[in-house]
């Protein structure tokens, strides 16, 4: 007697147990079956498929011809003496990637002193490392907070300098990718916990004052555009400060972004809190858990994982909304790209500059989106039977 073979799925087990089970017709399964069912199921469907296929192919070929084959990768001269006539001649036919070669340092790091730009580059690397560490669940313990504090301090030291023999660089000269990452990373890192507190506060039926405060905060902040908050932070807020006192413009913008994002996130979190069955609260109460134990162990772990998609939606929106700080004269990534094509020699090459920063934005946003999908399937393991 040989032991029965292990079957990975029920379907296989059934098939093995009964030899008379018929396979589905070959034309209805596999890639051929999929194509027949989805792309060529009727005459109309076939026609639409062929037209779309033609468009996709021709556009792709056009893009390759513009972006690679006919593209200008280098131009003679540099700085003020640059000769961009080759790029001008190729306009419409080929991309001028020479702009990126010439200007990428400015786009990435803005007006930061050229010879010191290894510092913001290192800051970007620290941010990426911070994201990677924070994304790994292995590090989700008390050390993570410490890692963030150390990273925050290191970023401050590197950007400002003035200690350890580093040259002091005033905040007005910072720019490019580090600004975008600072505003969005610390925006999310502070807005998220704040939003949880506000969402919990809004559900406090036993504390009407706390509840009213949270409602007023959410409705007020959500009711105005982010741009107006940034204007208030940059123009109005200093008027209320005592003479001679000055708070960093970047910090003011950062606070405005945190307050704005937290109001939106709070409503997302509240959605999760409301979706949690009442029985979960009651079971936690019946076991004698305190309010914060109940919230920390039972309510939030379940409520937050239910709202991962809208949370990440808001995070991604926030990441891109930081570009609005250009309105108050902060040189974030989008603003440096815009400024890089101001020189007469480079005017008119906006498509190339914006494609470059768009690619950078996309990498960060897509990474967030991909990570959230993984997190979701990981967290929802317990729902599997």
């Amino acid at each position: 007697m040989t032991p029965p073979p292990a079957h990975t799925t029920t379907a296989e087990a059934i098939a093995a147990a009964d030899d008379r089970v018929r396979r589905p017709p070959a034309m209805s399964v596999g890639p051929v079956g999929w194509l027949r069912a989805n792309l060529f199921s009727s005459w109309l469907n076939t026609a639409v498929t062929l037209v779309l296929a033609y468009l996709v192919v021709s556009w792709t070929l056009g893009l390759i011809s513009w972006g690679v084959i006919n593209a200008i990768w280098e131009v003679p001269g540099s700085g003020a003496q640059v000769d961009t006539s080759a790029c001008r001649a190729a306009r419409g036919e080929g991309a001028c990637w020479a702009l990126i070669g010439e200007k990428y340092r400015f786009i990435l790091f803005g007006l930061y002193p050229f010879e010191e730009q290894w510092r913001p580059a290192l800051v970007v690397a620290i941010f990426v490392a911070l994201y990677v560490v924070s994304a790994m669940r292995r590090f989700w313990n008390r050390w993570l907070g410490l890692i963030w504090l150390v990273a925050l301090a290191a970023i401050g030291v590197l950007m400002w300098g003035g200690v350890f023999g580093l040259r002091f660089v005033e905040q007005e000269r910072w720019g490019g990718l580090p600004i975008t990452l600072i505003l969005s990373t610390f925006g999310i890192a502070f807005a998220f916990p704040l939003s949880i507190l506000v969402a919990l506060g809004r559900r406090q039926t036993s504390m009407p004052a706390v509840r009213a405060l949270c409602v007023v905060y959410i409705e007020l902040i959500r009711g105005v555009p982010l741009i107006s908050l940034l204007f208030m932070a940059s123009v109005m807020f200093p008027l209320f400060l005592p003479e001679g006192m000055n708070i960093d413009k970047l910090l003011r913008a950062q606070v405005a972004i945190i307050l704005f994002a937290a109001a939106y996130l709070a409503e997302v979190v509240r959605g999760g809190l409301q979706a949690l069955p009442k029985g979960q609260y009651e079971a936690a109460d019946a076991l004698g858990l305190s309010y914060w134990q109940k919230t920390g162990f039972i309510v939030l772990p379940q409520a937050l994982r239910m709202v991962i998609p809208p949370l990440v939606n808001t995070f991604i929106g926030m990441f891109k909304d930081t570009s609005l700080v250009l309105i108050i004269g902060i040189f974030d990534l989008l603003n440096t790209a815009k400024t890089s094509i101001i020189e007469p020699a480079w005017q008119g090459f906006g498509v190339e500059a914006y494609l470059f920063v768009a690619a950078i934005y996309f990498v960060f946003c897509f990474a967030m989106s991909k990570y959230s999908q993984d997190l979701e399937s990981e967290f929802n393991r317990h729902r599997r039977r």
Binding site: G279, E282, A283, A286, L287, G288, L289, I298, R305, R385
Partner: protein
Amino acid sequence: MREAMARSETTVRSGIAAGAKPMIQLINVNKWFGALHVLRDVNLTVAERERVVVCGPSGSGKSTMIRCINRLESHQEGQIIVDGIELTDDLKNIDAIRREVGMVFQSFNLFPHLTILENCTLAPIWVRKMPKREAEALAMEYLTRVRIPEQAQKYPGQLSGGQQQRVAIARALCMRPKIMLFDEPTSALDPEMIKEVLDVMVELAESGMTMVVVTHEMGFARTVADRVVFMDRGEVVEVGPPGEFFANPKSERLKTFLSQILGH
């Protein structure tokens, strides 16, 4: 099922010595949901080691009454005294009582994001401040008693309803409560799973736990209960030992109820 329970009848009904220490006292308790008067002058005393079954038509206030005992609902008039502590708005008293009172719900209410073992150890570790290893040993002991130690590392969603309800009982017992409340523990179960849960409850009764059980399982009431309480429209209509309760119902309302519930 009735046969299964008959075996324990002689051992279970040990009788409650007169003058035993009262564990739960409800004195003239009144409660309203908005304008709806859901508990009307409810008086009930449950002695230590006593097993009380509460029955009645739906909407009669029986669930509300036992939910008042651990303050999942608050009452507006009267007194509720549990283990010598009166339930008021004082959070300290509420917490103290909840530590001593275990509850099992109709819909199990296990925490779906935690494993069976974590469900059982969470409260002992954080409320009783028990060391983790000790809490896990205790949880395994109770999971063995409810006959599912092999499921400890699974998640609630992977278990059947009957298994989940037994875990819920083990989870409550891990707090080593003095009183156990059951709010229709078998009403959400498929018929073939009711017995496995009732068997666990019978064993618990045999161990001398003070129990208040809201249920429609009249077989359980007959064999396990020291007293059966009949509630209707927010009032306690009739209380008595099961023999008398089922054989000689005094009120018209109980007679109607029994004929409906036992008639088919």
